[in-house]
Subunit: 692 residues, 2 copies
Amino acid sequence: MQNAVSPQLARRMADALRMLAVDAVERASSGHPGAPMGMADMAQVLWHRHLKHNPANPHWPDRDRFVLSNGHASMLLYALLHLTGYDLTTDDLKNFRRLHSRTPGHPEVGVTPGVETTTGPLGQGLANAVGMALAEKLLAQQFNREHQGRRHDIVDHFTYVFLGDGCLMEGLSHEACSLAGTLGLSKLVALYDDNGISIDGHVQEWFADDTPRRFEAYGWNVIRGVDGHDTLQLEAALRAARELAARGERPTLICCKTTIGRGSPNKAGSHDVHGAALGADEVAMTRRALGWTAAPFEVPADVAQAWDARERGAAAEREWRERFEAYRALFPEDAAEFERRMRGELTARYREQLPVLLAQAAGRAEAVATRKASQLALDALAPLVPEFFGGSADLTASNLTNFEGCTRAGRDRWGNHLSYGVREFAMAAMMNGMALHGGHLPYGGTFLTFSDYSRNAIRMAALMKLRVVHVLTHDSIGLGEDGPTHQSVEHVPSLRLVPNLDVWRPCDGLETAVAWSCAIERPDGPSALCLSRQNLPPAARDAALAARIRRGGYVLSDASGAQAVILATGSEVSLALQAQAQLGAEGIAVRVVSMPCTARFDRQPRAYRDEVLARHLPAVAVEAAQPDFWHKYVGRDGTVIGIATFGESAPATDLYRHFGITSDAIAQAVRAVVAPHARAVAGAVGELVPAK
Amino acid sequence: MQNAVSPQLARRMADALRMLAVDAVERASSGHPGAPMGMADMAQVLWHRHLKHNPANPHWPDRDRFVLSNGHASMLLYALLHLTGYDLTTDDLKNFRRLHSRTPGHPEVGVTPGVETTTGPLGQGLANAVGMALAEKLLAQQFNREHQGRRHDIVDHFTYVFLGDGCLMEGLSHEACSLAGTLGLSKLVALYDDNGISIDGHVQEWFADDTPRRFEAYGWNVIRGVDGHDTLQLEAALRAARELAARGERPTLICCKTTIGRGSPNKAGSHDVHGAALGADEVAMTRRALGWTAAPFEVPADVAQAWDARERGAAAEREWRERFEAYRALFPEDAAEFERRMRGELTARYREQLPVLLAQAAGRAEAVATRKASQLALDALAPLVPEFFGGSADLTASNLTNFEGCTRAGRDRWGNHLSYGVREFAMAAMMNGMALHGGHLPYGGTFLTFSDYSRNAIRMAALMKLRVVHVLTHDSIGLGEDGPTHQSVEHVPSLRLVPNLDVWRPCDGLETAVAWSCAIERPDGPSALCLSRQNLPPAARDAALAARIRRGGYVLSDASGAQAVILATGSEVSLALQAQAQLGAEGIAVRVVSMPCTARFDRQPRAYRDEVLARHLPAVAVEAAQPDFWHKYVGRDGTVIGIATFGESAPATDLYRHFGITSDAIAQAVRAVVAPHARAVAGAVGELVPAK
């Protein structure tokens, strides 16, 4: 048994986690002591005896991944990182939950070294872990080699996840764990903190699942009835899980019966210990009960030494690096490719070929749906972006996320496209896990409307600054007969509100290709491509104009002496151009601005934006969506042609007419804003706002 | 065995469903023939032999509820309604998927008589059905009586739901079915259309669950291995389910093995038959294969007669009405109360007492969090609104959705507050089912940020025009230390985009009480109350001003000769008032508008809105949320003080300072807009937009 310590020392190591959590929450007067206290023994056994990691290098590619899905137990993780030797000091712990500390209320990746993902919204850490385990399996399938009867496995690590009742109640746990079982992600080991308590009290009144049976139904190994405070039982369970993993068939769930707030004489086992500081008296009593004599934030030397994982971690990474160099000697290209992918850099080929690809897209004369244009872009991009891992939530042939020569990933088969099943939320959260793991650029498709189902995972990608791409097709009433349940009217503006999410609604093939390239090149955040079901004609552009698409908004078609500006996106851009032509014939000169990505446009310099918007002119915006957003650009008195109600079930052309989203309606709106503006400019004094 | 027909006729009855679906999809050139063809036998047995309903009165309170959770099979339902005698004609079927038809692409409640809920977004029909079954159980517990040894059960009906693989893959199915099992909703019977096909193809590669085992883990009865095309097996299973229901312990799942597109010689059993018309040739071959000689939309007389359920339905309702009158004779007040609740009318007491209640709220001088103000309103309202059915997704003590004297509903215990567990989506979708069923006014709580999880069910409530109330607390950075995963910055503006949803963000106790009253009184749509964690001071108002809160936006504090307008909501209103005072001391007169519900404000007459907004004045808006929305009111050159990034983990007061949401910042913004405006009014000609 590696790394053994006496039962007494093991207990004191766990108590160190407990007391750091208790003292940090006490100092912050805010936080969650109960879960760290309850999971301390689980954490001690896993982190001290099994977890492969190197505190000096949190980015070592072959480290085991650890996810704390019940993220409110953040102090458990901070205590583990601090004690094992990550760059997280006692002062950091003392600043728990303070502004700009490295110890925020919930763990945040990128803020704290060693934190693998941001958790808090329940269920998502677990789904992230499924994505990480999938990434590991795919990379192992792709990169590990046999040579002269010897294995060269450069990818070979576990994903461990702690989760609680809350995660298991969330629907997302079903989606993710069902798929993990189907895919046979055997190196995923989940430890269930079965403490029988959630915020409303004892869970049996609202959560009476036979969880082991449920997970067996998913095709998992289940290790039942482990006493989560008995280190020998925990050790045996983890050993068994790792042995089961070697069979390569099933993920493993270890059900650990625990007491929330273990160690607190008066509050253990009750929800009182869940989300508030214990209070000075109870802290003192907890100290006495545990026999813990050290002052707050102090750790006895023997305990600190037992926890220190720096030496073992360095040795483990060194051992892997030696293996990696042996691999490199035999497979230099694979080694370089692996390193490139784990760094998240794009291929040189991509940079070279992108202009060619965009020129091809620009050269296509036929009208295509932007979802089809997206597939054409993927066909061309996939050979340049081998890190693509595509997928769809059971709408592959509708979202057109598959590309020429792609392979469906399966239980026993490597692939670069996954049928996620009807699991929008799990898809998005697993994509986040894959991006966090490194080695892939995940994208996934569903209908735009069903981004509602995955919305919080898209938000988490934006918060975590992850490069993932959401392919959201059938983007408005153009979806047609499926009706209002399937027609997004509020989704494009609603996604635009998510900080750090680039929302694209391209108008034709070239804008779609550019959107893809921007999404791929974006290092620090997700992109959502909102694509049409119906065909859209290509707009005419020269090379200079084409180059402006990347700016997110640009003058697509100008007119000298323009009297008004029409702003449009996606399927409505061609209507705007038609209106421009109609108006031109009447002698009304109009500028048409295409705004495929307003977030990107807003990041341009002010001068560019002012030049495009021509803010001295009256403006009309058109988008087959909820209209409020556009007042940001057209002002409160500008006209917005949109849809403020739900859609209807009918053929798309009937719907565009029914909702008044036509070139005629745009032209009429322009006439209406141009006339009073002209009058106002000609004569009005003292009235700044055009009459309406 | 009631209502028996020969096996041959039963098959032809099922084939009538098949061919109506095939022909309607063919005529529309769009739709889903496969699922109706696959489920036709299940539907025949259920609707002909078991379903208690009266086609002449789709609103009979004690009818069985039927939910088609896989709503893309809409033509199955339309064919059933047409054949059994609902007001749905052959012409209606011919207009399938046309604009304003009564046969939209997915079933829509309120559009088609006999459709119980709008389905399409997978999983939600199933969760609606769980809500309906819960409503039935609660009403039965509350209203059924025993008198002199005799039962007087006026509420005694089943909820049947058809569902497919898609519903079962969705996480929502886990949340709803886990809770249905825990609550022992024995009169819920789900029929699983196990056809092994989803859009991406054969499901086993992405959905390998042992579904019976999964549902046993939830505490359901499971009837396995039923041949979904064998009417005898189906009949036996349904009979067994109803007998099991009599034990009152568990819901029942009947697993029906079916062939999608059953009857189509070349496409049955493949995903080709899922979502597209069969094509003329295959339709003809299907006719031949089924031996169906009737022309499209024609039904042979014997089949039509066998389907006609009008007489039986009328008799069933008559029998119930007799029982109800016997009940009324014994329990006149209960009978009247039951009728009132099923009509969805409010009590007379409510109308009488509301002014008193609002006066009490207006009279409270202490600062309270609006979540606490909400609880105070509930305490006062609950006796007046006995149809309240509250709940929380495991945050009862945080959302403060419980009220004085409320009772927790449980497996064997009536109650008017439910701990839904950590199941935000199921809570919202079940609330929809309860509202659809009638008899309750459901409300439920979670943190505002986690409205992301339930978002599509909130949308569905708005689409279905349901009176449900979402209590969304901890509404912004005021949440504090839990950090960005828990801090909504985009959620208030994002919910405002959902058509027909009234989003409230009240600033104090009185606005909160008014928000509740408006939500309760709103007959045709849901409301979301976005409430603060932190205490907010009450604003001063006279009675006339208090009466304006209902308008959604009003001048809370005016100043003679106002030079600017500040718009604010919720926790920022008191900051706006402080800024107004600061500016007043400098001689800058400012109007403060409180806008607790912009949707309601937007429904006011133009003259009122113009008067409030004073559109000739420059404006500043302040809301601790993503700012874009407010340009609708303040114009593109108005200033919006908000948060365009994610939040941070820190105490609330630190965060308000960090994000610059302070009275000083508001005052500074007003100074900045007032000066150039004054210059412009004084002298500028020909420039309509103030320089910036």
